[in-house]
């Protein structure tokens, strides 16, 4: 069906002077404020909505700095591994490489360093190019990027869960104990803020820049 989209002209709700509900899809006249079916607020797809995206984006970025500077968790071992240690995210990865577990190191490196940074860059890029002229192909790839960011966003919370489970579980007196560090809360907030940033982004803006076409009926 997407193949047809290149050749066939398409009418959007915005061009018809109507407003589509982002929550239930119902279409309303352009001056309607609230969807009468589901009660969601109706917002026209314009670049003003990007302010919220940028606000949450900066909040997430600011929280991401202490998340990397403070220790994620502190391990105290008597007999087990390497004595007492406090590790930030990056130090944790280095420690895993040092111990020779390259596979887990790779997983942690991708999940807590590569993915968050890629997420920040993708949202910033989407917000900058939103509403700018684009071809249908570009719009399709932008939508794909947005969907990946939206999907991956919540999975970053996995780090916080791992720290919580480890610190609740590994409480073996003087043999070994793990305590959460303050970076955990910063990281959780950073993830939550980037999720809100991605949710405030209106994917309809991706398609606003497409050249004007006349209307059609399916």
């Amino acid at each position: 069906m997407t193949d047809d989209a290149h050749s066939r002209p398409i009418l959007t709700a915005h061009r018809a002077g109507l407003l589509g509900c982002h929550s239930c899809g119902r279409v309303w006249p352009g001056d309607q404020r609230r969807c009468k079916r589901c009660g969601a607020k109706l917002t026209p797809p314009d670049r003003r909505g990007l302010q919220a995206v940028w606000a949450w984006w900066f909040a997430g970025l600011i929280m991401y700095i202490p998340a990397n500077l403070f220790p994620m968790m502190s391990t105290r071992t008597f007999a087990g591994l390497a004595g007492n240690s406090e590790a930030t995210i990056a130090e944790g990865v280095l420690e895993l490489i040092h111990h020779g577990s390259y596979d887990i190191a790779a997983v942690v490196f991708i999940a807590s360093i590569v993915v968050p940074i890629a997420k920040f860059l993708s949202i910033a890029w989407l917000a900058m190019v939103a509403g700018r002229p684009a071809t249908a192909d570009q719009a399709h790839s932008r939508l794909k990027v947005f969907e990946v960011v939206e999907f991956v966003g919540r999975w970053s919370m996995i780090d916080v869960f791992v720290v919580a489970i480890l610190s609740a579980l590994v409480q073996l007196g003087f043999v070994a104990s793990i305590h959460p560090g303050s970076a955990a809360v910063c990281f959780a907030l950073s993830v939550a803020f980037t999720m809100l940033s991605a949710q405030s982004f209106d994917p309809r803006l991706i398609w606003r820049g497409l050249p004007l076409r006349s209307r059609t009926k399916e």
Partner: protein, 226 residues
């Protein structure tokens, strides 16, 4: 794809806008098992499945039972050199219960247990009267909208993958025993996957509307998917 409903470009009646790209579509009656996609961006607009409402209600009840079980049964247990420690789900959340990490306890409990239970409840509240062919409960539309809004924040399945990662890390350090709560969470993933297959927001919105939600009276009962 059978007959076309009448539509009105002035008021938007009988039209559907793709939530992803704003392309307008004429609402059509779909047979059970058909899938409607946006002609421009390919987003799934509707995929009605026969008997979906009763299935969703049953699956919601299942997930409620599993989550309540998961809260009260032991979650994980480890032992090493005569020292042992068991933890429940509350124990996991309370791991953050000191100093500035305290707010994270509440956030964790809400994301892992609170929201999944709340969403299951909201879904049952919305669908139960519709499945019996009765008019919808008061505020059914608000309940269903909230259930959809809260969806990204309910993180039970992420939590269980986090558990798997934590177990790999602990495996070298001590012996781990998995409790019933762990298996309840694993079951929850399957239940969530199954209910995703039956979930179709458009169908539910149409059903709420057709079953007599007080909109402005321009909903079309004829020519609409059940």
């Amino acid at each position: 794809m059978t007959q076309q409903s009448p539509f009105d470009l002035e008021t938007g009646a009988g039209l559907l806008a793709c939530p992803r790209c704003d392309a307008l579509h004429v609402e059509e009656e779909l047979e059970s098992g058909q899938t409607a996609r946006c002609i421009r961006c390919g987003t799934v607009l509707a995929k009605p499945r026969g008997g979906a409402f009763s299935q969703l209600i049953a699956l919601s009840f299942t997930s409620m039972v599993l989550l309540i079980g998961a809260v009260f049964f032991p979650f994980l247990e480890i032992s090493r050199m005569g020292f042992g420690n068991a933890t429940s789900l509350f124990g996991v959340a309370l791991a953050f219960a000191d100093g500035i990490l305290l707010p994270l306890v509440a956030a964790l409990l809400i994301m892992i247990v609170g929201l999944p239970v709340a969403r299951a409840f909201l879904l049952v509240y919305t669908l139960a009267p519709l499945a019996k062919g009765r008019p919808p409960n008061r505020h059914a539309a608000t309940a269903f909208r909230w259930s959809e809004t809260l969806k990204p924040w309910s993180m039970a399945e992420i939590f269980i993958i986090g558990t798997a990662v934590a177990l790999v890390k602990v495996a070298g350090l001590a012996t781990v025993h998995l409790g019933p709560a762990f298996w309840a969470f694993c079951g929850l993933i399957l239940v969530n996957l199954a209910s995703r297959g039956f979930m179709c927001q458009t169908t539910i919105w149409d059903a709420i509307e057709d079953a007599g939600l007080a909109t402005d009276g321009r909903e079309m009962v004829e020519g609409r998917a059940p």
